[in-house]
Amino acid sequence: MNKSKNIILERLKSKIHDSVHRENIPLMAMHGWTNSEMIQMLSKKLQLSKAEVFSMPNKELINWLNDELPKRKIKNILSGEQIANEIAQSLTSKTELMRYDNSYESFSESLFNEIDASITKSVGAIAHSGSVVLQPTTDEPRLMSLVPNTHIVLVDEESIYETFGQIMLDQNWSINMPSNTLLISGPSKTADIEQVLAYGVHGPKELIVLILTS
């Protein structure tokens, strides 16, 4: 194996290249949007991608869940411990709170066949492209945002950035990238058949973004 590595590297090194001046990367290309403008832009872009967006004070979250989940025929919802601690007490009996307690292998059957929805946090959102940013953890593993039909994601209004470059820089990603980082910008979709848009091909059929204000 090292033989191929050496051959490839030797060939690449045989040509001396002039160094290239990289253009200024517009990490900080900012419009100077206010927080409410960013919420507006984020919502608009997400809605264009067929995500649903609601903005509400933090304390209203539980009421929203108790109203909306039964309406949407969501009988159970998967959450991590942190969110569960906040909502378990007040969630009505109409919705069962499910937990990703064990490894995927022992949870796979429930995850794919029983869970209606999941609720996760986010590390922020990007107004410019209409994306929520997730960095899955032990508490909220990777597949929570992929397998259930409905994915509800919470965004703290203070964590909305204008651009992808900004959130990356501000949160120092280059120093310590977690196992998985995801930009999610709508429900799963495809246009592979005659360019007709169809939603919910492999991932969630619904993406609901709740922007929480203080």
Binding site: E23, Y100, S129, G130, T138, H202
Partner: protein, 473 residues
């Protein structure tokens, strides 16, 4: 790819298929318009192109160092790295990994580089089941065909054809031409396959050297399934995919999705930096990356042609190519069609085998105008076109330089050169042609088989100018 029919036959066949041309024309118009809507401001577009182009040039100028840095950081992240000089080596390495893991069922996310090494055929021959999971690729695989476009693989198929293929393979589902219903059927079928799979294989859009991160762009979520659900993930990346810093990613992602499908951003941008850690509950237990050369390091040695490697596979050059729109992807007989295909493939596989592809270009320049990383495609195609018939300047980089030279064509051009450099001879010849114009043949092969052959005028332009009172020159 085996080429049963000659390029000329394939082109003839494509040009005779009106339905195909209508399908491609409308699909390309749709993609062109969507892209254009994403770039309302020309200055913004130019800035983004300049930035993206310089990021890619920077990667190529430091390629060996960046690959070493990438390997180091991937290994630090517990991702095993393998180097493959050829397609055969890459396939064997993947097979060995699968064999050691006792993997029999594999799911794959859309990846052109695995098409390039013909991984599906190879694993089939080893009795390993490999299933495409991107909807378009899945449909193409069911129909036992090849993708006809690098971004939209099933673009050549109508929904009727797709419905029929579906019914043939999955008679348990009712026949439907409703795109939503077909999509839901595919979801049901493939979700089980993701769970049953022993391994997932993917490509890579960007590999970040600084952090050892693999980035994948997609809309469907099948890529995330393939790289998260099975216990083993193998990613295949061309060596040119490396970028130096994480901060190189946002501009490239921005211009990639806008150029490819006219989307502000795709549904998912998946950045993977590690397999499942001890305290994590999901994700693959083991990850491998294959760094594939397959001709790239040779292209890299040639200063002029090296720009080919800047490509980020958006397919925009293909969407804007008038030749591709007329022919569709299959007529090329290669993995990569369109302008990037006729530039890359002859360099990888040699001019003896694929030099004639360079004729599939009208030199209109549309590809270079839209290329997000400013690859001067017509210039590169023109250079390759000339290398097919003359010179040995590039023989150290490309196989078969000059191999398509035909003596009769060469003699004809020699005579042409002689006549045009001798005024008296030129004058005699042009007079003879105008006087004898009525004897000119109605057909002269090639182009004239399909078009009316132009007849030389009875009076030459020079004579007309003289009659109109213009003095010589």
């Amino acid at each position: 790819m085996s080429q049963v029919k000659s390029l000329e036959n394939r082109v003839d066949e494509a040009l005779g298929n009106e339905q195909l041309q209508t399908n491609f024309r409308s699909a390309m118009d749709y993609l062109i318009e969507k892209r254009s809507d994403q770039f309302p401001d020309k200055d913004d577009l130019n800035n983004l192109r300049n930035t993206s182009s310089s990021i890619r040039s920077n990667s190529l100028s430091k390629l060996p160092e960046l690959l070493i840095m990438l390997e180091e950081n991937l290994e630090n992240n517990n991702i095993k790295v393998h180097w493959a000089e050829t397609d055969i080596e890459a396939n064997n390495t993947i097979y060995q990994i699968l064999k050691e893991a006792n993997a029999k069922k594999v799911v794959k996310g859309k990846s052109m580089v695995t098409e390039e090494i013909e991984l599906n055929e190879f694993l089939d021959s080893k009795n390993i089941e490999i299933l495409e999971t991107d909807l378009g690729e899945f449909l193409v695989q069911l129909a036992n065909e090849k993708p006809s476009h690098i971004v939209m693989p099933a673009i050549h198929k109508s929904r009727k054809e797709i419905s029929k293929v579906f019914l043939e393979h999955f008679p348990e589902f009712p026949y439907t031409e409703d795109v939503d219903l077909i999509t839901q059927q595919a979801r049901k079928i493939l979700r089980d396959r993701f769970r049953e799979a022993d391994a997932g294989i993917s490509g890579v859009n960007f590999a970040v050297a600084e952090t050892g991160t693999l980035c994948l762009v997609e809309n469907e979520g099948n890529g995330r399934m393939c790289t998260t659900v099975p216990p083993l993930h193998i990613a295949v990346a061309g060596i040119e995919k490396v970028v130096e810093n994480l901060s190189d990613v946002p501009p490239l992602l921005d211009i990639l999705t806008k150029s490819a499908t006219g989307q502000e951003i795709t549904t998912y941008f998946n950045m993977i930096s590690s397999p499942r850690k001890n305290d994590e509950k999901d994700g693959p237990m083991v990850m491998h990356v294959i760094l594939l050369d397959n001709g790239r390091s040779k292209i890299h040695q040639n200063t002029e042609m090296q720009e080919t490697l800047k490509c980020i596979r958006c397919g925009s050059c293909i969407n804007h190519c008038p030749v591709y729109t007329q022919l569709g992807g299959h007529a090329y007989g290669t993995v990569y069609p369109g302008p990037i295909g006729i530039t890359l493939e002859p360099q990888q596989k040699g001019i003896s085998e694929l030099g004639d592809l360079t004729s599939l270009c009208t030199m209109c320049g549309a590809c270079a105008e839209v290329c997000p990383v400013q690859i001067p495609l017509p210039k590169l195609i023109n250079r390759l076109r000339s290398e097919t018939v003359e010179g040995d300047y590039m023989s150290q980089f490309i196989e078969g330089v000059g191999s398509q030279r035909k003596s009769i064509e060469s003699i004809a051009w020699q005579i042409w050169k002689h006549i045009y450099s001798h005024p008296t001879l030129y004058s005699i010849c042009s007079k003879a042609i105008t006087k004898l114009s009525s004897f000119s043949p109605k057909k002269f092969g090639g182009w004239s088989n399909y078009r009316v052959m132009p007849k030389p005028s009875n009076t030459s332009l020079k004579e007309l100018a003289k009659q109109a009172g213009f003095k010589n020159e």
